[in-house]
Symmetry: C2
Subunit: 332 residues, 2 copies
């Protein structure tokens, strides 16, 4: 446990808020989870966070020098506003100012996926690596990019949307409105759509899968695929092979574009599927260019659900020490 200044860190999602105190070595010293009452509006959500944070700081005696928050939404380039957070129903909300006013500490606001990438970089699977990608496979697919020793933010602070890269042009309609995105085939919701389509077109072959969903084909989810594959159901294995193929073909795009040393997979869907990383590594090495594919390693994220608070804390401490420009290079 460190005597250095620590960070108060917040992982703000649409259903829950995780609040933690994290030391400079990335260790969570204490934490608390609250529900996010989105229906009460942004101001009340902030009040809940502030009450929780204040109580947590008072119960402990750590020296807090900075506040970091990873938010499930798009953050403005100046790091002050949450421009759009669909799950929170926030638009153009001055979150940084709200936190700083009441906590009287410097606050750093990041997109949650980029916070998690920052966490894996400094204290997780990407430690000491200058060129890697994080792919978080949950319901959707989020991405974080570290290239040449820099976290890529993009011109309007919106880089890393690796789930919304075209995999099958003109294909399945994605939640983003575009067709054929990687997420629509390899994200949790995309896998669920594939399972439901398969259950409709081949109900007999899909019997074991449907049974796992309580007999209701409409209730099929990605985890049922994982379960059925583990039970060696041949139809599930067939579907799983295609999911692996699609995910790998998407990763070929990233590997040929960025030439990372590591592809780090996180998220429930990625880590719940049997042998997913090994299979993706094998496929990508076969299909990428020799120069980009041969050095590649596909490995699991190591921080799990704590990546966002650990990353947001690390970003806040770096920003407090070296200035917020150390986190991003502003574009002309």
């Amino acid at each position: 446990m460190s005597n250095d200044g620590c960070a108060l860190s917040i992982d703000l999602g649409g259903t829950k808020v995780e609040i933690a105190i994290v030391d400079p070595q990335g260790t969570i010293l204490t934490h608390e989870r609250l529900p996010t009452h989105v229906e009460n509006g942004a101001e009340r959500v902030v009040e809940d966070i502030l009450s929780g944070a204040t109580a947590l700081m008072q119960r402990s005696s750590y020296k807090i020098i900075a506040v970091g928050a990873g938010v499930a939404g798009q953050i403005s380039s100046n790091g002050k506003e949450v421009l759009f957070a669909p799950n929170l129903k926030w638009r153009n909300f001055p979150f940084k100012e709200k936190l700083e006013k009441r906590l009287s500490l410097p606050c750093t606001i990041l997109n949650d996926v980029r916070a998690a990438t920052w966490g894996e970089w400094l204290h997780g699977a990407g430690k000491n690596c200058s060129d890697f990608l994080c792919l978080f496979l949950g319901t959707g697919i989020g991405g974080g990019i570290v290239a040449g020793g820099h976290l890529i933010n993009g011109f309007s602070n919106a880089a890393g949307e690796l789930g919304h890269t075209t995999l099958r042009e003109g294909g399945r309609l994605c939640s983003c409105g575009h067709r054929g995105c990687l997420e629509a085939y390899a994200g949790g919701w995309g896998i669920a759509v594939t399972l439901k389509e398969a259950a409709t077109s081949s109900p007999k072959k899909a019997a074991a899968l449907i049974a796992l969903a309580g007999g209701d084909a409409k209730a099929l989810k990605a985890e049922h695929l994982s379960e059925a594959v583990k039970k060696n159901d041949p139809f599930a294995q067939e579907i799983y092979s295609q999911v692996i193929k699609s995910l790998s073909n998407g990763c070929v795009t990233f590997v040929n574009a960025f030439n990372p040393k590591l592809l780090i997979f996180g998220g429930g869907v990625a880590l719940g599927m049997p042998m997913l990383l090994e299979k993706v590594q094998e496929e990508v090495k076969k299909s990428a260019l020799g120069a980009t594919g041969s050095p590649l390693q596909v490995i699991p994220a190591t921080l799990g659900n704590t990546a966002v608070v650990i990353g947001a804390a690390a970003a806040a401490l770096q920003s407090a020490t070296f200035g917020s420009d150390s986190l991003r290079v502003h574009s002309a």
Copy 2:
């Protein structure tokens, strides 16, 4: 014309070598073109380059302080060797050492597409921009990435292979061995394949196109599509719409992944097609995420065929002044 030290710059391709003297402002002071006699082997090609370069330097009286070379191939991470250059038939060739030994000047070796990107960044369409992509559409598709004010090199110095990103999984076999790459649909050779397929399946509709190829459907090339579109041939326009669509769907990938301010198009195929940039911009803005699509501008490269020599010169001068580490950040 500058009195500062200038660079001797080399653009080494499979059919010709361009040698130039370039000042720090990116102005080509004098230049010469030689054929590349690949069949004579690497050593003789270097001899030809050295003779041409020496003659050029002797004929002029510019003060040369550095040498830059853009090579159509993969360069080792330490910038010393050409690892693989299929059009030159070079493998693991110590090009930097060969040049330095005879010229007694510090030499900087870059991949030619990355050199061109460097040129467009410092002296062309990407001037003063910290987040942009260059897409060079010729026979194939090459890419250069500037993100957060850094040129992205990748872990093994092979980043930017934007032509080899998956557009249609399981689709047309690409020259790289993978299926469904962007290049296989929107690169010059891919467009030619599409034209030949269309001419075979719909010879009547394709009559105007085939006539442009001298009556030989097998001789169809990307420029025939361009010509036929300019003549308002309806079948050509139909095919062209699909090419635009494919190119745009590929660009959606790049825009959502990198969130660039600018997409800079260069190369004969991109700049020869009518209204290509305007159409791609319109399509990409429709299909990318709001946060990444709305700030995007699609613009033409401005240095044309001189991008590689201007970029290699700029990289050589920067490396000579600030050290070679200023060109790349080494990965762990």
